[in-house]
Symmetry: C2
Subunit: 154 residues, 2 copies
DNA sequence: CTGAAATACTCAGTGCGCTGACTATCGGTC
DNA sequence: GACCGATAGTCAGCGCACTGAGTATTTCAG
């Protein structure tokens, strides 16, 4: 009976939340374009001509993952990559017309899905929900690398 | 400028939260055993002899995913599968001594990690955090299948 | 007792997400 | 102007997570 209650484990809650969202997205928004792919489209609507690394930074994905997501969007013809003439290492990314149309369409559906997803919460609770999750995520993202935390063993 | 603010998109927040947790887990808890794997160990500490499907239900994983997680734990010698003599379709799962030891060790580290992860929140805020996320996840998990939601297109 | 539905599990395919090792380019120093 | 470190991107490998299709076993209707 040394078992623990997972309902007080933020990691487990986060995973369940993300999973539930994934399923709802699939039924209410798109079976083709995923939520991370939409995040990338959105970043490029806000700032056309970003390079891969910076897009990854904006949406919170590492270099490998962002490369795969972008290559899928590229294959679907939603964006195109172009070598930066001023820095041969970079690719500059821009949405195609099709990419812009897709973003517009999904923006509408996403708003609708969020209403359903957040239905259990009152307006005030939603604000708190965003605030609390945002603070925890921000803090944890700022925790990267500092001197081997596995040090304090037990 | 039709771009959207992802900080008010629960799916995006959930993904960031989960990612940040994943990284912290890796540094503070274990590089070998993942958070979902720990959830499975925990479920089997609470209820030894469960079958795969039920474990999946307890921790919120589908049949395919739970099968992979369990086969990894099996390969590591943390649990063993045994055909249910009363129902040849099922495998009954039990932790090995090694599995029990691992669960005990990780329970301690996980508690420590959760303190760090939740550090930005006060005690009251943590309660609210668990409550809000739990309610949204519960509700969304209860939304499965009901008559094709993609129907209401826009 | 036999055939059909239900159930537990497996397998192939796709996508997200990370690390570590590698290549190519750039930028600065000597 | 040649090296050296930093940076952008690729690739292989592992793990989580889902769907859809397929196998084996059980259960229930007749």
């Amino acid at each position: 009976m040394a078992a623990v209650d997972l309902a007080t484990h933020p990691g487990h809650l986060a995973r369940r939340l993300q999973q539930a969202h994934y399923l709802l997205w699939n039924t209410m928004v798109s079976e083709e374009i995923t939520s991370p792919q939409f995040a990338v489209l959105n970043a490029l609507v806000a700032e056309p001509g970003l390079d891969q690394r910076t897009v990854g930074e904006r949406v919170g994905l590492d270099r490998s993952t962002i490369a795969e997501v972008i290559s899928r969007l590229d294959r679907r013809g939603l964006l195109h990559k172009e070598r930066d003439p001023r820095d041969g290492r970079r690719f500059l990314l821009r949405l195609t017309d099709e990419g812009l149309r897709t973003h517009r369409k999904l923006t509408v559906r996403t708003a609708r899905m969020n209403q359903v997803f957040l239905a259990p919460l009152s307006a005030e609770e939603r604000t708190v929900f965003f605030d609390l999750i945002g603070r925890v995520a921000d803090a944890a993202e700022g925790l990267r690398d500092p001197a081997g935390p596995l040090a304090a063993q037990g």
